[in-house]
């Protein structure tokens, strides 16, 4: 990544200091800097190492189940009466979401660096489960920090992590959500820096994480682009994904960034609406600031204190966003829009009934945006959405909101 940025390309960032325009960087405590630089060196080395790539490919195929299918959602398309809708089925991956793509890559790096202990933060628990899974697979002890609120609302994933042998540490600071879990993971890391690898789940944080996570997740967009060319003989008109920290979105967006004909939309969590504080629309309603190692859009007050945010979806409940998304918004290549809790819930139900696919609440936000856009598009137009995770973890939350009561009632 040390080459001079190519003109007219949206895919050449970050620069050697980890910057995407003014965003990104390495805003970390001195204790962590030597490790960050070691990680950078190991990553630079690994990405040109054919052995590393071969290992990634083998595990991708036989352990994750790649490539994930590209699926034409025929009944949803008919129902909405406009553009053809395709899903990139990342929810069919081992562990049920795109998170495993990144975890496999990073645990191989951790092994190369000789680290003996893995820590992670998790919101919805999808990244926690994926991390616990690869730790089981590679025989490393695993500690997952999870906000206490999220522990309560994502209990199936907590159970899965424990079964996989991970220690789940609930974090009660703040609102007990993803931001607080990340603070606590960083405190653990700074204390155990010699032995411990911090397996960050999203394309955010200090350089080189945003670039590294993006590259591990770009397999989504690379596959989808080729599959779309095979299915339709052309590229989609619109690519769409939900954005929390933004790893599934950057994974599908990045390979399309230089395709001028492809419009790209990221969907933020609009929570209960942007008029109050109960949302997580960092780009739409936030301002640039510095948190968790990078400069990016943050929900914050006039004194630079970070707000808590809110989303029905634990995976989107974060007051910031990956720095590459911040930059893509700034230069106008990607449009970011908010979707509210109730809109996401409706989309969740629609997909479940029409296609027999129970989506996670995170991609349900992207789906809600499709429900708005598809009918206004022509029948010859094509939408590609990243169906980033499955909704098994959310059925209790959704059931409760819909007043469905207990099973069997």
């Amino acid at each position: 990544m040390n080459e001079t940025p190519k003109l007219n390309s949206f895919r050449s960032g970050p620069d050697e200091d980890g910057r995407f325009g003014i965003f990104g960087g390495r805003f970390v405590a001195e204790t962590l800097m030597p490790l960050i630089l070691d990680l950078q060196a190991e990553w630079d080395n690994a990405k040109t190492d054919p052995t590393f790539k071969a290992e990634m490919d083998t595990l991708g195929k036989h352990y994750i189940g790649r490539p994930s299918p590209l699926y034409f959602a025929e009944r949803l398309t008919e129902h909405l009466g406009g553009a053809k809708i395709y899903f990139k089925r990342e929810e069919l991956n081992h562990t049920g979401s795109h998170k495993i793509n990144n975890c496999i890559g990073q645990i191989l790096l951790a092994k190369r660096m000789g680290k003996t202990r893995i820590i992670a933060e998790t919101g919805a628990g999808q990244h926690g489960v994926a991390t616990a899974t690869v730790c089981a697979r590679f025989g490393l002890p695993c500690v997952v920090y999870m906000g206490a609120t999220d522990v309560a609302r994502q209990s199936p994933n907590v159970f899965r992590m424990k079964l996989l042998g991970a220690e789940v540490k609930p974090v009660t600071a703040g609102n007990g959500t993803l931001k607080d879990a990340m603070n606590e993971a960083m405190r653990d890391w700074v204390t155990n820096v010699d032995s411990t690898y911090y397996l960050i789940g999203t394309a955010a944080g200090m350089h080189p994480y945003p670039e590294m996570v993006r590259d591990f997740q770009s397999v989504i967009g690379i596959e989808a682009r080729a599959q779309m060319l095979e299915a339709e003989g052309r590229l989609p008109d619109l690519v769409i994904a939900a954005v929390g920290g933004g790893s599934n979105a950057i994974g599908i967006f990045h390979p399309f960034l230089d395709d001028e004909s492809v419009k790209i939309v990221g969907v933020e969590a609009g929570g209960k609406g942007l008029e109050g504080d109960e949302h997580c629309a960092s780009i739409t309603a936030g301002a640039p600031g510095v948190l968790h190692g990078n400069r990016t859009y943050l929900l914050q007050d006039g004194d630079g204190q970070i707000k808590e945010g809110h989303s029905i979806s634990a995976g989107l409940d974060y007051p910031g966003i990956g720095p590459e998304h911040a930059w893509l918004a700034n230069v106008g290549r990607v449009e970011y829009v908010p979707i509210k809790d109730d809109e996401a819930l409706e989309a969740f139900q629609l997909l479940t009934r029409l296609e027999g696919i129970i989506p996670a609440l995170e991609p349900s936000h992207a789906l809600a945006e499709i429900i708005k856009r598809a009918p206004k598009m022509g029948k010859d137009e094509i939408i590609l959405m990243n169906l980033s995770g499955r909704g098994d973890k959310d059925i209790f939350t959704v059931g409760k909101i819909l007043g469905m009561g207990q099973a069997g009632e």
Partner: protein, 279 residues
């Protein structure tokens, strides 16, 4: 480096004793009490004051300082009010160096140029910004040096000889050696290891080296003070404040005298220490 900081370390050197650097969180538990505590520090024996800027997400701090920041924010503390604390203190005390310590985002949002102008106006001497390593010097370190404010860098056990020159390059005022990897409020490390680390740093710089993380008692202050140019105490003071508060977190009559008594004890420790081990 400000003349005030220069003179302080020169005076201490001639007295042959290490500095006692005391940390309080600005606005904890409220603005007026915080000002009263700050004013009580020099006469109790504090040589340099580190004034914490509260931040919602203090990633390098342990529970004690996290809670102090939460108390301050709840009482309405802002970066502007922390600068005002320094200004009010400076009206009565022209000599004690003040170092602001915290995280970058509130300064970034306040505006770096405006912040540095105000920092000079209120009589600040230095800055410690935890999440700005040398790689990020363009952000605040270089503009601060230009404005005549010291930028005090943290060195840690992970800062090896290869990296130390980079850490020291734009450091001024003093070097803050964080004696262990971890968050504030951790256990006291072995003083002999600290002595070796201080000697290692001093072989690369002529700046004073102050040591923090884990110092809680007079005895700790004496032991660490024997090995360094200064001893930083934070969590113990913040805990003392917390223990004096009402259940609702309000100050009591015991709050200010309690801190003063603790600092007098710590000061006795540093005064009993000799610089011999570090020289």
């Amino acid at each position: 480096m400000t003349a005030r900081m220069d003179k302080k370390f020169a005076d201490l050197a001639s007295e042959g004793r290490p500095a006692l650097v005391t940390y309080i969180m600005g606005g904890d538990p409220d603005f007026e009490t915080s000002l009263a505590i700050m004013k009580a520090l020099p006469s109790a024996g504090s040589d340099i004051i580190e004034l914490g800027m509260p931040f919602s997400d203090p990633m390098a701090d342990g529970p004690a300082i996290q809670m102090a920041g939460q108390r301050a924010l709840k009482a309405g503390q802002t970066l502007g009010k922390t600068l005002e604390l320094a200004r009010r203190f400076r009206q009565d005390d022209p000599d004690t160096p003040i170092v602001l310590m915290g995280y970058y985002n509130p300064i970034y949002i306040y505006g770096v140029d405006r912040f540095l102008k105000d920092a000079v106006d209120v009589g600040l001497d230095g800055l410690i910004v935890v999440d700005l390593p040398p790689e990020m010097d363009d952000e605040l370190c270089l503009p601060a040096l230009e404005a005549g404010i010291s930028f005090i860098r943290l060195a840690t056990p992970t800062t090896d000889d290869r990296r130390l020159p980079k850490v020291l390059e734009n450091t001024s005022g003093f070097v803050y050696y964080v004696s262990m990897n971890g968050i504030t409020g951790s256990a006291l490390p072995d003083p002999s290891l600290v002595g070796a680390a201080v000697r290692r740093i001093k072989s690369h710089t002529s700046l004073p080296v102050c040591v923090g993380f884990g110092v809680k008692t007079e005895e700790h202050a004496r032991a660490i003070g024997a090995a360094a140019d200064g001893v930083v105490v934070g969590t113990a003071i913040v805990n003392q404040i917390a223990s004096s508060l009402t259940a609702e977190g309000h100050a009591t009559e015991a709050t200010v005298p309690g801190v003063a008594a603790l600092v007098r004890g710590l000061s006795a420790g540093t005064k009993a220490a000799r610089l011999a081990a570090a020289e």
